[in-house]
Amino acid sequence: MSDLIQAVASPQEIICAAERLRETARQKAIVPQMVLEVFDHWAAALDARELREVPGVAFLRLWLRRGTLEPILLRELGPDSLHGAWRDEGRATLRAFPLGVVGHWPAGNIEIQPVLSLTCALLGGNGCLVRVPSGLLEPTQLFLEKLQEVDRIGLLTERIFMASFDHSRMDLHEAMARAVDGGMIWGGADAVSQVRTLPFPHWARVVVFGPRLSVAAMDTGAWGDPAERSSWCRRIARDVWQFEQQACSSPQALFLERGAGCDPAEFIEDLRQAFQEENRLHPRQEIEPALTSAICQARASWLLDDAANRATFPASPDWTILQGSRVDVPKPTQGRTLSVLLVDDLLAVISRFDGTVQTLGLGAKDAQREETLAQAAGRQGVDRIVRLGQMHVFGSPWDGMDLVRPMVRLVRHVRSRD
């Protein structure tokens, strides 16, 4: 284990680390401007050869830039928040203060998530206690080394404690929950349900991101336009390739609205080429045999279930396009498997969303139609509606929630004298 990620064996280690972090957050106040400065350097340092193959690193670099984060802070915390100033609100003034120590339980499938999660709490001036899932130790270590390089005085690194322990060590999870003032939980249904039951103090604020799934949709004007079709397909391929479709923002299905004179076969051919090209640019380096089995099973089940179903796939498990006609979201397979489903009306699809759909990636030519679809999606529980190709672009709000605001306290000061 590195010195940046600690292998934790006892609850006492967690309690001590949390006390140190809380003391640091209390004694050495930082304002968002100082954090942004370090983040900017960190973003530049992440442009390193050894990190190029880490999935999501481009998003992380983009996320850490001042240009990305400043507008988020201004929106979430107010116009004077960057310098930690009090802002007027009527006869009172307001200012954000950190909660104290924020515990992070990132999902085990997204390489950049431990770091993404802690950046949200650091912007609020908090100390961060992060449990790094065992599968993410290596990339997290690489990211932290870059932070250490640019944060020479330890402004941020002294506010971070990265812990590694087996997911089954409930005593350590419990110690972590007891020691924090806030929690950010990310992940699948099992993991989230387990963490939510931990004994957080009654004052702790806990926010949960996930589990969700995402879908894409296109109106006839978008997918039926030969001039733009291949460009849309490249965007879809980009969204499908990220994180092996294990992210909650990954499209699992693409719904195409039927239209006169539009041939889905032409669209599928363009999509096939886009998938092939994306695979050439970003081939898999490894795969779990269980995922290979799941992909083969998805291909076979789809074609055997209904003789009218179609599919396009290579001999390898590299990618799969399943084609058919249905309005509900099929069970995800992941592993670059996209169900392309022809429907009469996208509104009929959206009306069946059950609150589990996080992101709707849209390709729409008709602006008015897009408004209608976005309205309907919002009503049906969708939290993000974005252009195809941008489904994974991490931003605030996420899952319908602010990212920094939940981990700060807005302190209101009403002056005792006018």
Partner: protein, 383 residues
Amino acid sequence: MSALVDLERSINNLLTAPPYRLDPEQRHCALLALLKQEIAYASDRNPRFRNYVEHWPVDFRSADTIADLPYLPVGVFKANPPLALVAASEIKRTLTSSATSGQTPSRVVLDAATARRMTKGVITIIRDFIGPARRPYLVIDLPENLAAQAELGARGAAIQGQGSFATETVSCLCRNQLGDSDVDLEKLLACIEKWKETEVLVYGFTYVIWTHLVQPLQRQGITLGMPNVHVLHSGGWKRLEQQAVTKDAFRRDLASVFGCSADRVIDYYGMVENVGVVYPDCERGNKHVPAFAEVIVRNALTLAPVEAGQQGLVQVCSVLPTSFPGFLVLTDDMAEIIDYDGCPCGRRGTYFRFARRVPKVEIRGCGNLETTRYPVGHGSSQA
């Protein structure tokens, strides 16, 4: 019907050939041609199977190798109703796999011809390992698992598969007062007394033999004194691995209980979806493929066949079934190809070793939803 008659003839040619003596290249040619015929036949019989075959990246008619032919993942046999190439009236028996609790078992349907070939296939293979003689058959299982039933589990199918070698059959487990299995010691010792001078065939599931025979007899210090026994066992090692029982320890202790040499204990690999084919360990510890079958081990990253010495996902191939499309089946097992010919035991063709089961496939990460937030009362398809 003439297509089926042609098929029958070709299948029988391979089924009656010496199981492990054919030149691998010659065998590959014969299998490839026959499997192509079978895929064409199955496509004619089942439009959904035809749909799958038509979408395969390689046209099976022009495939140069068995590895290029369209294979089905083993999970498709969990479908209900089961995938079939015969009318319901022609189904004589349904085999079910031994799914662990909470899992859906595989179900494969057999018509009379496929059932006949299944029996013949197993006999042909086992005979090569224990000799052709018929002999008393001791089954380490409950009597109810010996009965012929229309729907037969993996244990029952394996027990009956070896039944053709039997001059008489005795099961030596019984239910105790709690309804659990126990060894029927009185019955067992009576058999031993009667059979101690003769060749005897013993069969049981690996964990059943260990739990209900080896451990109780060891505890009681009983040795059966049957040096002429052949003990066949199958069903996997998962439960014994959980108890840290190694393959060597199992073999040694089992041989010690029977009082035979360890080379008379034979582990074999098999599954209901691969009817009529089992893969016993040879004296070198390798599993061999008979003339009427093939094993391809595929790299999980590319799904291409691996080279000798490499591990991957096991695909089993068999020309025996014509009642369901189980010719080419990608399993959820991992194995290592030892080589494609030349096992020192003298058996020709591919030989391999089982490695492990692929863990259960699960949707992972923050995209893993177990339940919906609120129920949706809609149908699932659009006209």
